[in-house]
Structures are given as structure tokens and as C-alpha cells.
Assembly symmetry: C2
Homo-oligomer: 148 residues x 2
Amino acid sequence: MIQYRVAEIGDEVGIHGLIRELAEYERAPDSVINTVESLRRDLFTDPICEAFVATSEESIVGFALYYVSYSTWRGRCIYLEDLYVRPEYRRHNIGNELFELVRNEAVKRGYKRMDWQVLDWNEPAITFYKKQGAELDPEWINGRLYFD
Amino acid sequence: MIQYRVAEIGDEVGIHGLIRELAEYERAPDSVINTVESLRRDLFTDPICEAFVATSEESIVGFALYYVSYSTWRGRCIYLEDLYVRPEYRRHNIGNELFELVRNEAVKRGYKRMDWQVLDWNEPAITFYKKQGAELDPEWINGRLYFD
């Protein structure tokens, strides 16, 4: 039995574990420099982001983490930073449920757009997002600077 | 003589005009549903974003608008949503100066990354960002849902 709820203080440990799992799947395991402590602050004590979690017997098996972004064209939007379900819990609609929770939150707040990114080789994710009715647009390229 | 400063209340009118100019250049003139009034709120009275402006004789000729984003891998980042200089004021280093102001702000706050996006056909912008030492990565595709 899967349950869904807004992330609560203490969930940062389980979410951080899943963030690391997802980074491994995305072939970037060394990219996670964020710590459990900073995730706790960023979600709960000095929040910049929010999350929904899916739990099975009180263990977090999936999460959707998002924040409020801004488009000069459309105003406030929701940016879905991570959506992840542990491999052994897939094909039970958990990804769909988490995506719906974020989408409904965006609509409830009156935001005009929801954004995220997907790796061009991640076929299962691309198929999933197309089912959500999403527009997938390769015309915009990411620019990045890292400060270490 | 170009001057640079943090955007102040009242600047939303000039900035909004440049947002429309930039959308036209990006071949999406009808995409701007944001109004001057909502931009005023979003920058100043209930802020979600911030901006630097470049002025010539008190007229805004360029701007850089950004907000705090979040990476589950790196923590708080700065997202540069728009960087624009009016065509007749280009080749005077204004884009560089605005970019530097945002970059310095990100470093000052201890953020670990600065992100933005560029259209794949916008060669002048791509050349500009490469000069800034940026990584340009086409591997991530944008997913989007619109709520109208």
C-alpha cells in the first residue's frame, strides 16, 4: 500500500538517498555535493524548495521535489527538479501520482507553466512525460557555470 | 555613458518593454502574457526575482533578470532568466557587465552554480556564453506543461 504526503522534517534522509540513486542512474554519481543537512535546511528550516513523497510501510520509495521559478513571459511557474521512484516500485503508477500532485499544486496556485528537464537518452522518462501531455523541446540548450 | 544598478521600483516599465523586444527576437512575440503590473509585483512588492539594469541617460537599454533556483545535486543556484541589450547598444560590453554582475552575486551568496538557456540557433548568444567560460549542454531536453 503506497501512501502520498507532503515531505516532513526527517524525510531529508530518505530523499537524499533517492537523490543519490537518481544521480547514479543519470550517470553522474559524483555530482551530488548537496548534503543531508543542507537538504534539511533547503526543504524545511530555511525553505527554497518543497517535496511530495510516496511511502511504503513508512519508507520513502519515491519523491517529487520542486520550487517556484520565474518566467518573464508567463510569471511564476513550478520547476520540477526531481521526480524519482525506486526501480522495484515502478509500474504501480507512483510516478504518475507524484507528477499529478505537483501539477495540481501548480494549478491551485494559479501558476501558468510547469517545467522540468529530461536526458535525451532517457527513453522511459520521455515516454512517461509524453503521456502527461507535455511539450518536449530540444531547441533550448542549457548554459552553466560552476563555482567550486 | 552606461550606468549599472540594481533594478528599482518603476523600472518594471522599461524592463517589460525589453522583455517584449527579446521575445520578438526569439520568434515568440505572443508568448509574453506577463504584464507590467505583475512584473512590478514579482520584482518589488512580493518579489520572486531580481534584476540589474544598464541605463543610458536614465533610459534602460539592457537588463539581466534572475532568481534563486535549486539543484538537488548542488543546492541553491542562480538562474539567469533573461539577459538582453538593445541592438543599438551592443558591442559596448554591456552584456558582459550585466553577466558579471549576476555571476558576482551568485559567488557572493555562496551559490554553486549559475544556469540559463540559449536557443540552439542563436549563434551570437552562444558565442557570448562560450566566452564566459560556460558549459553548453544539449543533453537535457526541456519538458513543459502550460496551464491557461
